[in-house]
Symmetry: C2
Subunit: 424 residues, 2 copies
């Protein structure tokens, strides 16, 4: 891993895959087909791309039960405990409305309502991601969303991963559809004969899924379109090189475009981590992916002071930030931009990916400057309420009419004044 | 205004203007020019499109002071009172973080931080919109955003409307730039020699502004891209036809694409409102715009029951909803989807546009199903914090490692286990 002196212009921004014109045309055609032909279009694309002809899209209760049965009871218990931790943290994010009384009985209010229905996309492919199920479904449930639906592609035998079905089952999610890609996003957004449309779609996916989410955006809500994962580790001489290296590699193994950065005030640590990264890479099952990530985007920066290091972190606005220094908590108070912060040696980043309770869907590519990880707010909406009595209206109508006329909107002024018009 | 029997399939969705390929190419070229040539590009486009060659982009304190001087003191007082009302309501939306203690000193937390900097776009043209300044700036200030910047195009003599400068001055905003269109959005997003970039851009604009906001989205945050305004009025026989008609027209005068709908259980009211709309249209200064809106999108629906009417409103998910019925508050409790609700006869919709304190930037085109009006949450971000002690790590490391391996991420498992590795 390359070691450099920290400079002011570091960045972790990478050019994201945005899809080409052909992919976009494909996605638009798929969406149109699903709009026109519903279930049959979804089945046809599933046969074409996932290699299986489905009789029905919806997973049966028997399939869910069989998946739970097939799981190791220890793993099921781990998932249940993780789910409880995630629920407990997200319950702290619950929102309540308010009522602001004005004079003489008038009031303003804000109502908080959950979204009615949400669809979660779970990617298929070689691995299963039960943790995605937990991280997307639980905030929606805590928000009070009544209907949470999962869409995920089946394999060439028509099966879904046991772990995904088991995670859904733990959360009492039973509306699960075997469908992936743009056809799944279209079916969730616009509905088919058997699938009611949802109001919001969350969850990661490949470029076709991302393009489809952009296309349906506006008709339904979507979550952010996440880029490859990132970690920045801020460490001083108190950190252990093998642990820092292992944590860097845990991000690097995600994706050849993932980004793992160490910023340290200790030259000795810098050297030791570089050595450890190379050593640990050699036995990593996903060595090839991790090595590409490390070589292209991995860097070790030596900072002249902790203040300079903190400033660099704020410039990076990393998705994940580990602080492994003396007085880590005090250092963390100076961080203005990070998706998630992990404090101290024992808070390795995967602790948050799977188990601690915080969400692992986090803002990437420096968007932590203005965006937040997935949370309960993403599944609620706010409605304002205005109630004016006659007296409050009388006191304020002339002011409101003047402000409307200042903007040239005579109709607005008259509407407010109309309450005083003589009635027939 | 056309009267119809209410049916189950009503909708207020309209095809929004999305811009054509030529407009998009123009916007991309402008953005690239501003990135490359900074201030000079902004000045050149301002000269080309707004007809004035600026020496400097930033408004001077003298210009702001002169604008305040030029304003009628009564109007200034109205603006100040509106600002105070808006601030009071939005202060109720203030957010606080939390700390969730786990066993033996471990904890999870959520930190709430304001965005660092925000740019507000205020459209130019024939009218001035000081209310836009109040509605966009105040939630950002309540959130704690340190730097709030305004961009708005000057007229052909290089001047800005007094009312906009005065509204800014009331809010202590002094960083104001004379620039509009895509060049303004680009300068806010990427910065120039004299303008520091911002983290989020809000505010309405024409199609070039909307396209530019879409283009810079991801590098900075943007607010929703609002469609034409809408109102639905739910009224029974207790409502006054002239007031209902005036309120419908107050939306219709905004835009030929605006949508004003009455749903009523009273056939008599329906007839009377139709008559009143035509009568009031004839003396409305913006008659032509309002008439186009009424003819294309205005409808009066007669519902057979209040329950049916409520169901229709929930299907519409209107931006603005007035409820002028017996027991309006009880009726409103059944509304699941609306941007803002106005209760009772004296809560005419313009009350909220200008003065009451709620925000007038609201979700249009049925997006109230999943979106909210502009609020303090739009100017904050959340960072999660995980702190595990050695003991908590020890208890949970095996579980976390199992979950990581279940997903095929060995590097994640090793990272968590590395804390137990023997040290050299």
């Amino acid at each position: 891993m390359e070691i450099q002196t920290l400079t002011a212009d570091i960045s972790l921004k990478r050019q994201l895959e945005t899809g080409n014109e052909m992919q976009l045309q494909t996605v638009r055609a798929v969406i149109e087909d699903v709009k026109q032909q519903g279930d049959e279009a979804v089945k046809a694309y599933t046969e074409k791309w996932d290699g299986f002809r489905l009789e029905k899209l919806r997973v049966t209760q028997e399939e869910i039960d069989a998946a739970v049965q097939a799981m190791d009871e220890v793993i099921l218990q781990d998932l249940r405990e993780a789910a409880a931790n995630i629920r407990r943290y997200h319950e702290q994010q619950s929102r309540y409305g308010f009522k602001l009384p004005l004079e003489d009985g008038s009031y303003l209010a804000q109502r908080i309502l959950p979204l009615t229905s949400v669809g979660l996309y779970v990617p298929g492919g070689s691995a299963a991601y039960p943790s995605s199920v937990l991280m997307n479904v639980i905030p929606a449930q805590v928000a009070g969303v009544e209907r949470v639906v999962i869409a995920t592609p089946c394999d060439a035998t028509g099966k879904l991963p046991d772990a995904v079905l088991a995670a859904a089952s733990i959360l009492d999610i039973t509306e699960i559809y075997k469908m992936g890609g743009a056809q799944a996003i279209a079916a969730l957004a616009y509905g088919t004969e058997t699938i009611q449309p949802v109001d919001k779609i969350t969850g990661p996916g490949n470029i076709f899924v991302a393009l489809a989410k952009r296309e349906v955006f506006g008709d339904v809500a979507i979550d952010m379109i996440a880029g490859p994962s990132e970690i920045a580790i801020l460490a001083d001489e108190t950190a252990y090189a093998d642990e820092v290296a292992a944590d860097l590699l845990s991000q690097a193994e995600h994706d050849a475009l993932a980004c793992a950065i160490l910023i340290t005030t200790s030259e000795q640590l810098a050297q030791a981590v570089a050595t450890q990264v190379e050593k640990q890479l050699q036995t990593l099952p996903r060595e090839s992916i991790a090595r590409q990530s490390v070589e292209r985007f991995g860097r070790i920066y030596i900072a002249s002071s902790m203040a300079e290091a903190v400033e660099a972190i704020n410039q990076l606005a990393p998705e994940h930030l580990e602080i492994v220094t003396k007085n880590a908590e005090a250092v963390s108070e100076q961080i203005r931009h990070a998706g998630a912060i992990f404090l101290g040696r024992y808070s390795s980043e995967p602790v948050g990916d799977y188990f601690a309770g915080t969400n692992h869907v986090l803002p990437t590519n420096s968007t932590a400057r203005f965006a937040s990880g997935l949370n309960v707010d993403d599944f609620i909406k706010k409605t304002s309420v205005v109630y004016y009595t006659e007296k409050t209206w009388q006191q304020n109508a002339p002011k409101i009419a003047r402000l409307a006329r200042l903007e040239g909107l005579e109709g607005h002024a008259r509407a407010v004044e109309s309450r005083g018009w003589e009635k027939e």
